[in-house]
Assembly symmetry: C2
Homo-oligomer: 426 residues x 2
């Protein structure tokens, strides 16, 4: 238990440092080896979806198509209807992909980059392309921008989504700003949910670029830990604002059934989908319809998904509780860290004292605990305040997680106390 550190004298801080160091060294020598770096489901979660791996004998889809053979660029209609029903989308505007929604995002940006959209200049032909990146955010979104040389403009996340004053100012001012990354429900890593007001402002705001696009990655759209957090419909909002082509909506069953073998989907306006299909049909003959059948037969319908997600929450909630309990107990009231308390999703985000994230993560790694790299949640891996750390509670067992959090809290405290000592000694 660490006291409120700002009240401590330098001598008291040094005494505290020694205590923490002793605890750290004891744990470091105990041979911990844990990986909390990625938001992976645990085996116990995956076990709940084994029904989706049952053998298939009847390979016909609802409309009589033999799912084993070629064809069906959009995927099987009954699974498109399930997604439509679950998320409030139009099944006609959905295309199902393989196992990776990231792949669909990448390909969508690549098409905008190489071919352009609706007669606008392809982004590759412009002097520069820029994206608004609410952060902290998802490292793999930023990775796509970085690979294509798309300049990332960080915008802070507030309690109800990105700082919309700033987003609106940017989008209106610069025609080279072509898009924004959004994880609207239980954002990665903070678990922030976009309010109705945020959704409406994103939909309605003037953008200098006629081909400004919202990349709406609803990765955690049904991943509630307890009560359901509502999310306003981005298509309704964009339609109402007269900007139907603005959003590209992504979703997958990666964290419903299997991360390696789920089904991803993309949805956009009818016009956008017509254009998308004209490229997609050159790229592939169609997705794996048998896996779509498997996924469909296991989940059955939207209610089936919701019931399944309740079971998964039963696995996840105790893990989030462990994380939050440890943080509260070990760091609460110390002034050394603040953190989010998400109602869903896969992560807890913690802010250390400024300038302490990298050192904290290194300290943990040296003792055998691998966390997501400090800075990973920011464009170019640059957390200018060096304070954000993503905690991914899902993969370890509860026992491992307790061990990990005990160590992690000591690392946060030790690094913070050392920084205070250094500051005071200046």
């Amino acid at each position: 238990m660490v006291p409120y550190v700002a009240d401590l004298t330098l001598v008291e801080l040094k005494k505290l440092e020694n205590e923490l160091l002793l605890r750290y060294e004891k744990m470091a020598s105990s041979g911990i080896k844990l990986d909390m770096s990625r938001g992976k489901p645990a085996a116990s979660q995956l076990d709940l979806s084994m029904g989706a791996l049952a053998g298939i004998s009847d390979c016909r889809t609802a409309d009589g198509v033999d799912a084993r053979n070629y064809g069906g660029l959009d995927g099987i209609i009954e699974l498109r209807r399930l997604f439509a029903d679950l998320l409030g989308l139009n099944a006609d505007n959905i295309t199902l992909g393989g196992n990776s929604s990231l792949n669909m995002m990448y390909d969508t940006i690549m098409r905008l980059y190489v071919f352009g959209t609706h007669g606008n200049t392809p982004w590759s032909k412009l002097p520069a392309v820029k994206f608004i990146c609410p952060c902290p955010g998802y490292d793999r979104h930023f990775g796509i921008c970085e690979e294509l040389g798309i300049e990332m403009i960080p915008v802070p996340m507030l309690d109800n989504g990105p700082d919309m004053d700033e987003v609106e100012r940017l989008a209106a001012a610069d025609p080279l700003i072509k898009g924004i990354w959004c994880v609207p429900l239980y954002s990665n890593p903070q678990g922030i949910c976009y309010s109705e007001q945020t959704v409406k402002r994103l939909a309605a705001m003037p953008a200098a670029a006629p081909d400004f696009r919202i990349f709406w990655d609803n990765a955690y759209g049904v991943h509630h830990l307890g009560a359901t957090t509502p999310l306003a419909n981005i298509f309704d909002a964009c339609d109402a604002a007269g900007k139907p082509d603005r959003p590209f909506y992504f979703f997958s069953t990666s964290k419903i059934t299997f991360p390696g073998a789920g089904v991803a989907m993309e949805c956009s306006s009818a016009d956008n989908m017509t254009e998308l299909r004209s490229h997609l049909k050159v790229q592939t003959i169609g997705p794996d319809k048998l896996n779509q059948l498997r996924t469909l037969r296991f989940l059955k319908n939207a209610d089936g998904v919701r019931a399944h997600m309740k079971k998964l929450a039963g696995e996840l909630k105790p893990k989030f509780n462990i994380v939050l309990d440890y943080l509260d107990r070990e760091l609460g009231g110390t002034g050394l860290a603040s953190w989010t308390k998400p109602a869903g999703g896969y992560f807890v985000a913690l802010d250390t004292l400024d300038g302490c994230a990298k050192a904290t993560v290194k300290l943990a790694a040296d003792a055998g605990l691998k966390m997501t790299g400090a800075g990973a949640t920011f464009p170019y891996r640059r957390d200018s305040l060096d304070r954000n750390i993503r905690i991914a509670p899902t993969y370890p067992t509860c026992n491992e997680l307790e061990q990990a959090m005990k160590l992690f809290c000591v690392c946060v405290a030790l690094t913070g106390v050392r920084k205070l000592i250094a500051d005071r000694s200046k």
Copy 2:
């Protein structure tokens, strides 16, 4: 039965036209409805792979990875080893994809186009990019070039592969010529196999472009109808010629297990694969490893694939026989058509009299038989002689195929006779 038409008088030709027209009209009125337009396996073939749809309970790979979860960018090692063993490749240089090798080809070209390779200028930044397209060839290869504005240069196919004199002349002369499409075994649509000499010349020929690439689509690499036709190893040949980075090799189980749910693979030099993976890891977290496990457990090993292909050949050989028997019986010795007699693959290619392919395909369509569009086997769908028609015998049942071939032969003959009449009447 049609006589050798060149010997007939105009009156005899007109009589023959009437006879053929009567036969055509009788068939047309019988309500035929058949689709022979794509190279799709028949349901009876797919039934032989139902073992690959068995349920999975053990999801561990050979190296202990849980195939249900994220990760494993290259796919599972044991299936990479199977492909390596089957095709004489290096498993370390193989990456497994989803269900579509076409998708891997598209993405590979897209990377060369957007990012370039090994420091060469990205193709998108050049004033033009050109590809050598042996033809007739595979329409979807040409579709990728067309989508990216890559200029296609047709080169004729000879008995042992593309006209290598012409290929060598083109590749040496123009640095904007960046690649060549090859289906080296049982080419689509002619079923031509590249000789060892052809493979060696492709590997060794000087190319003005340092980033000249061979797209080696070995789609029918194990798809023998009878005896095995050998194919020289393109990597050995390129290594020997000091051009290890030249080939990108593609293969899939689309026509081994399921077209919609097979496993695709790509193989190239170690340097090319290092570069490829650096992009791939931005695009996706990894392929569907569970489907790879399913495919592996069904096929077991290279011998298992070969045994399975023998069973499939048992389904296909009678269909190829029907096609060739009808062509022989109805068109043999008439001078109205010539055709290939493939020892494997999925197609028979037929040449009508010059200027007759489009009209023949239309005649067939009007009577209810859909063939691959005339011209589809050429870049820009332009068969300058308007004579090539792709016959895809695999999808219909034997009974349907007999019906279809009877009608098709009449369409070829009727169109040819009409052309001769028109020529003589000039």
